[in-house]
Amino acid sequence: MKTELRTALRIGLLGGLVASHICLVGMLETFAKRNLIGDYLSMGYLLLLTLFLFVGYKATQVAQKAATGLLCAIIAGGITGASLSDLVFLTQNFQLREIFAHASPALVKLLTLGQSKSLGLLIPIVSGISWSLFGGFFALLPKLWRRVLLNTLLLTLLLGLLRDILNSLLPGDFGKTLFTSSGLTYIGAGSSLFCGGILIWAFLTYREQQKLKPETSESRNSPLQKLLFSLLILFLLTFPLWSKSFLSNVADSVGLYIIMGLGLNLVVGFAGMLDLGFVAFYAIGAYTMAVLTSPSGIFHFSFWQALPFSMLIAMSGGIILGLPILRMRGDYLAIATLGFGEIIRILVISDFLKPYLGGAQGITNIGKPEIAQFTFKNPEHFYYLILIGCLIAWFIASRLKKSRLGRAWMAIREDEDVAQAMGINRVTTKLTAFAIGALFGGLSGAIFASMVDSVVPKSFDLLISINVLALIIVGGIGSLPGVLVGAVVLVGLPELLREFQEYRLLVYGAVLVTMMLYRPEGLWPEVTLQHILHKTAQPEFPVRPLPTPEKK
């Protein structure tokens, strides 16, 4: 009992710290501008609400008995709420704004729901306690219900966030009943909770039953899966036809990142070499395309003539990078590749190469792809080019994974010395990983250059390398579907939430830390894929690539 109360206290204080942080960096206010459900539940409130729920859930989870658990939830939620009340009180009575620019009357109004002083101070505490209680009840539910509820809530959240895409799919009037200008209507949310709940419940029970049955090859390709797959294909093929132009733009960047991700995944995921300079190949591909096709240059190639050169030169870049660092492992490798990425960027800016690469101004008027009379001009056109690029990259990557070379990469990843003693040629194996990965990077860069029509050194900074690496990790290192999921989550979603640009890196960091704590294997980890591909039995112990840290 005593330790449980102490844990509740700690969780409550931590929750309070996070809640105050969210408020003081201005996230609450910014997020409050977008209403997700109806015109009352904004993303800001949703953020606090989730926090309360989580605090209650955590506090209940550590307790032995249900009653103690709920008591803990009340205490923890109360403390979290109280710290917000405290914040309100301080903001009202002291000049907090001199230090925290966001501790404004607007924030107070949000936290107190516009109520007067004393009543207003109670509101955060009361809501903290009540939502934490809900979180506590949630923790006490049976596992199946918990999963149904969680997935339904996530689905509704996702539907609200993806309103722009979904709304353009629906006929006008129908769309209006379900969607507001920024999220879901109450009807929309209600039907999502209801229908989504039933569907998810049915799906989860179905899967539980499937697990009990011995696996056959038919159960793998059920008609339902085929239907979903065809729908997905249809969705991908027609996407630019019905969505807004800016959405095609988002899809294009997701696609370019997928190509890069598939490339880097060969190096990091399959061969196990941490490469922090992947942007170098993207830049080489883009600049090669620019130099070869720009009218201000001397080559005047067409897009299609230049494309193979972009890829080949990027690939040579991969080999040149690979040679000196063949013997490096782990940290040293990461630092060396990081340096390589920077070298390329600095070379591009340098005065020395300015006559050829345009220095900081870069190169403009890059060639567009043409097929017969048709020229690819706008994002919708490029969408199809990128889609084909993704498919080719996917095809190559998945073939490589199952090939002899792929197995050699994985052996090198697991243990370089043993792999060599098994007869694997370390030099060629590592170099091909770098080369093919770089080739994908070059392809992505070349399409990018042609699409945006100009290349400037600024577009090729370290953040791209980090993004690509992060999307691989979030998706599930070494997993191909993981790359897709990772790119959609880390590149697509932030683009759709442009109004929150300033908090992008903060959220990014939080997502990565949470992932590493609770799901280190990624959103779509490799093992599941392995079982699908090889049709092998489930191992007796769940296989996790990385150990989950022990909780004390």
């Binding site: 002899r404 197995r407 050699a408 994985m410 052996a411 990843r413 697991e414 243990d415 010395d417 043993v418 792999a419 060599q420 003693a421 098994m422 007869g423 694997i424 040629n425 370390r426 030099v427 093992v527 092998t536 039995a537 191992p539 007796e540 112990f541 296989v543 690539p545």
Partner: protein
């Protein structure tokens, strides 16, 4: 079959092997014993090319191999079950074994050997689709030996196969080593467990701080007072 001639190996400045010479003849079990840090693992890694000797020569079936890359040495038929097992943790037992046959093309032969290895280690059959990292220590050792055998080596080198195993498992492993040898594979066995190693070996060498200090038929070494004192506790 395998001959080391005055091999000197270094780790940077550290002189780990100071002129090691020995031979392994076809069909033998030769054991190399010695205390911690004597240079046993270094000797094995020098043979398999992971460490390049600074001087001396290594001959395998009459040809020099000390200047070859590790994978080329492996292709000639020298296979290693490394110290500490070092199996591929994120691959299944099956994939680990298949990696052992990486350079073989004869599918039928591979299937035959796989079946035979599973016969030898029934535990591996039960764990066939489990990932290597989740095996117990003993099972990992079996896997490491099985993987080394999958290349159908001319000579199998084993680095402390008994390390960390229960006595009953040690006896089992040694029995299997004998069986493998009976089927025609030459074996170079490195051990701390001198008693066990010498009892199954044809000949033995004693390594001390990078030098061979004693050599002879295994029976003689077992009886030698020097060995008894240093390795067999009296």
């Amino acid at each position: 079959m395998l001959t080391l001639n005055a091999i000197h190996s270094y780790y940077g400045q550290i002189h780990a092997l100071k002129g090691v010479s020995f031979t392994v003849e076809k069909g033998e079990i030769v054991t190399l014993i010695g205390s911690n840090g004597a240079g046993k693992t270094t000797t094995l890694n020098t043979i398999s090319g992971l460490i390049k000797p600074r001087s001396g020569e290594i001959l395998f079936e009459g040809q020099r191999i000390d200047n070859l890359a590790p994978h080329e040495i492996a292709k000639r038929g020298i296979s290693q079950s490394p110290e500490g097992r070092k199996i591929f943790g994120r691959m299944t037992v099956r994939e680990n074994l298949e990696m052992g046959a990486f350079n073989r093309k004869d599918q039928a032969g591979i299937r035959h050997d796989l079946a035979q290895i599973l016969e030898l280690f029934p535990r591996l059959r039960e764990r066939f689709n489990q990932s290597g990292g989740t095996l117990s220590g003993g099972e990992q050792q079996m896997l490491a030996i099985g993987r080394a055998l999958m290349s159908r080596p001319r000579i199998l080198t084993l680095d402390e196969p008994s390390m960390g195993l229960a006595p009953i498992l040690v006896a089992q492993i040694f029995k299997i080593i004998c069986d493998i040898n009976q089927q025609g594979t030459t074996i170079l066995l490195i051990e701390q467990n001198a008693q066990m190693a010498l009892s199954i070996a044809t000949r033995g060498y004693v390594l001390e701080t990078g030098q061979i200090v004693l050599q002879g038929p295994a029976k003689d070494l077992l009886a030698s007072p020097q060995v008894r004192k240093a390795y067999l506790g009296g």
